[in-house]
Amino acid sequence: MNVATPLAAAGLRKSYGTHEVVCGLDFELRPGECFGLLGPNGAGKTTTLRLCLGLTEPDAGTITTLGLPIPQEARSARSHIGVVPQFDNLDPDFTVRENLQIFGRYFDIPEQEVRARIPDLLDFAGLASRAEVRIQTLSGGMKRRLTLARALINDPELIFLDEPTTGLDPQARHVIWERLRRLQKQGKTLLLTTHFMEEAERLCNRVAIMDAGKIIAEGTPPALITQHIEPQVVEVFGESATEWAESFGRNHAERCEGTGETIFCYIHDPAPLIADLDRRGDLRYLHRRANLEDVFLKLTGRELRD
C-alpha cells in the first residue's frame, strides 16, 4: 500500500447477530479523488463508513486511514477526517456560529484559530448573514451546508459524506454538488455514499457498487457503463408496452426489462426500435444514452429494498 493512500480497507467483515452486513470488502482511495460507494438501502454503506471511522470494530479485515490502523488509532485519524452524517445532528441549542465554534473545540483547535476559520466556513456554506441565527430557523439545504462546513472545521484531508443530498430539493442539491467539487479542487479526498446515480456520475472519479455487503463492480462511471451495459436505452411507456416488447422489442433489443407499464430496451443501434415506435404512434418513448443508474439497476436488480 502506498503511504499516501488516504484510506485502504482489506477483507472487511462485519456481522450483526447472524446477519453479515459487510462481507469481505476491499477498496482503496487515491489521494484527491472522489470515491463513491453506491448501493441500495441496506447494502452496508453506512456500516462501512462507521468501520472506517473506528466507530465499530470489524469482525475481520484491516483498515488504514491516513496511514493509521483503525480502530486502534481511530482517535488520531478522526482528527484529520471530516464527516457529513446521513442525518443532520447539528446542535439545536446553538446558533450557526456556535455550532462551528463548539465543534472546533472537540478537535482541540485553539479557540482563536477556530474563530479565525469561521468567516471562511460561513462564506463557504453561504450562511455569512445567518451566523447568529438559531439552527431551527434554517432550511434543510442550509442545515446540510452548515453540516458540511462543520465537517471542514479541522481542515480535514479526507471527508466522509453519507448520502449528503438525501431529502434536499434540486436547487439545494446542486449547491452541495458545487461545493463538493470546490473541495475536490482544493485537493481533498472525498468518500461519498449515495443512491443517487446522477450524483455519483457527476462527482465521482471512481465508484464501487455495493450490494448485500459486497462490492459487485468498481471503476470510473464511464468505464462501468461501457463494461456492463449496452450504450443506448429506449424507454417505452403505455398500456400496450408489454405486448409491444413481446412482439417486437425483445427481438430487436439486446435486453428488455419491464416495470409496470414501462419497458427499458438496452441496445447498440436503437434505429429499428424507434422506427417501429414512430410508425405505431400509440406508445410514448424516450431515447437516451445509458447511464450509471442503468448499470446499478442491472447489477442490483429492480426489486424494492425496504
Binding site: 450483526y16 471511522l53 452524517p85 482541540d108
Partner: protein, 261 residues
C-alpha cells in the same frame, strides 16, 4: 454482550469539551433552570419543615427544619443529577444525536459518557449547594464543618449521575425513566432518612436502606450540617464512590453496546 464493551475506559482530557458544551447550553437558560431546581426542594423544606416541624420538639437532637435541610440537600442533588443524566442525556444521545456528532470528532464514547456524568454531577452540585446556602441563611447551619458538605454534594451527584446514565443507556424512550423514578428514586426518598430518622423503620427496611446510596449521603450530610463529624464516614464515602465508579463502568459498557454497533 460482547466482551469488547467491557474494555476498561480510556480517557482523554477532551471529556472537558463535552462538559463545556453542556455548560454553554445551560448558561443560556441558567436563571429559569436554577429557580426551577431550587423551587421544588425549598417547597418540601418549608412545607414539611414548618408544617410538620411545629408538631415535633426535635428530631435526632436538632430542630426538624435543620434535620430536614440536610436531607433535602441530598435528595435535591439526587433529583437534579438523575434528571440531567436521564432526560437531558437521552435528548442529547437519542433525540438530537449530539453524541453521534461528537463521536465523529477525535473523542471516544468514554470521553462523552464521562463528560456527561461530570456535567450532571456539576449541575446537581448547584442544586445541592443552593439548598445548603438557603439553610445557612436561615441559621440552620451552626458549624463550619458544614463546608465539607460541598465536596460531598459533588460525590453524591456523581453517584446518581452514573445510575441515571445506566437508565439512559437502556431506555427506549422518555417514558422509561418513570420506572426508575417510581421504583428507585421515590423509595429512596422515603427509606433513606431524608424526612425521618432511619431508626423509625422496621429492622429489615433499615438493613435494606444500608444498600442504597442516598442513605450514605444523608448519613454524612446530616451530622456535618449539625457540626458533628459523621461516624463511620470513610465507609459512607467509600459506598458513594463505589456507586459512582461502578455505575459509570456499567453505563459506559451499555452505551457502547447501544451506540458502537
Amino acid at each position: 454482550m460482547a466482551t469488547s464493551h467491557w474494555t476498561l475506559p480510556l480517557f482523554s482530557t477532551r471529556f472537558v469539551h463535552v462538559w463545556r458544551r453542556n455548560l454553554l447550553v445551560w448558561r443560556k437558560l441558567a436563571i429559569p433552570s436554577m429557580l426551577g431546581n431550587l423551587a421544588d426542594p425549598l417547597l418540601y423544606m418549608f412545607g414539611l419543615g414548618y408544617g410538620l416541624g411545629r408538631m415535633l420538639d426535635d428530631v435526632g437532637g436538632m430542630s426538624y427544619l435543620g434535620f430536614l435541610a440536610a436531607g433535602i440537600v441530598c435528595s435535591s442533588t439526587m433529583m437534579s443529577a438523575s434528571f440531567e443524566a436521564m432526560y437531558s442525556g437521552f435528548s442529547r444521545m437519542h433525540v438530537q444525536k449530539t453524541w453521534d456528532a461528537i463521536l465523529n470528532a477525535p473523542l471516544t464514547l468514554d470521553d462523552v459518557v464521562l463528560g456527561e456524568m461530570v456535567w450532571a454531577a456539576s449541575k446537581s452540585f448547584l442544586s445541592g449547594c443552593a439548598v445548603l446556602i438557603v439553610a445557612a441563611a436561615l441559621g440552620l447551619v451552626p458549624s463550619p464543618l458544614a463546608l465539607a458538605v460541598i465536596p460531598l454534594v459533588f460525590l453524591i451527584g456523581l453517584a446518581f449521575a452514573g445510575l441515571g446514565l445506566i437508565m439512559t443507556a437502556l431506555s427506549p424512550s422518555y417514558d422509561f425513566f418513570m420506572y426508575y423514578f417510581t421504583l428507585c428514586v421515590t423509595p429512596m426518598m422515603l427509606l433513606c432518612g431524608v424526612f425521618f430518622p432511619l431508626d423509625q423503620l422496621p429492622a429489615a427496611a433499615q438493613a435494606f436502606a444500608q444498600l442504597l446510596p442516598l442513605t450514605h449521603a444523608v448519613s454524612l450530610a446530616r451530622p456535618l450540617v449539625a457540626g458533628v463529624v459523621p461516624s463511620a464516614w470513610p465507609l459512607h464515602i467509600a459506598v458513594l464512590a463505589a456507586y459512582a465508579v461502578v455505575s459509570f463502568y456499567i453505563a459506559l459498557a451499555l452505551t457502547r453496546r447501544r451506540l458502537l454497533q
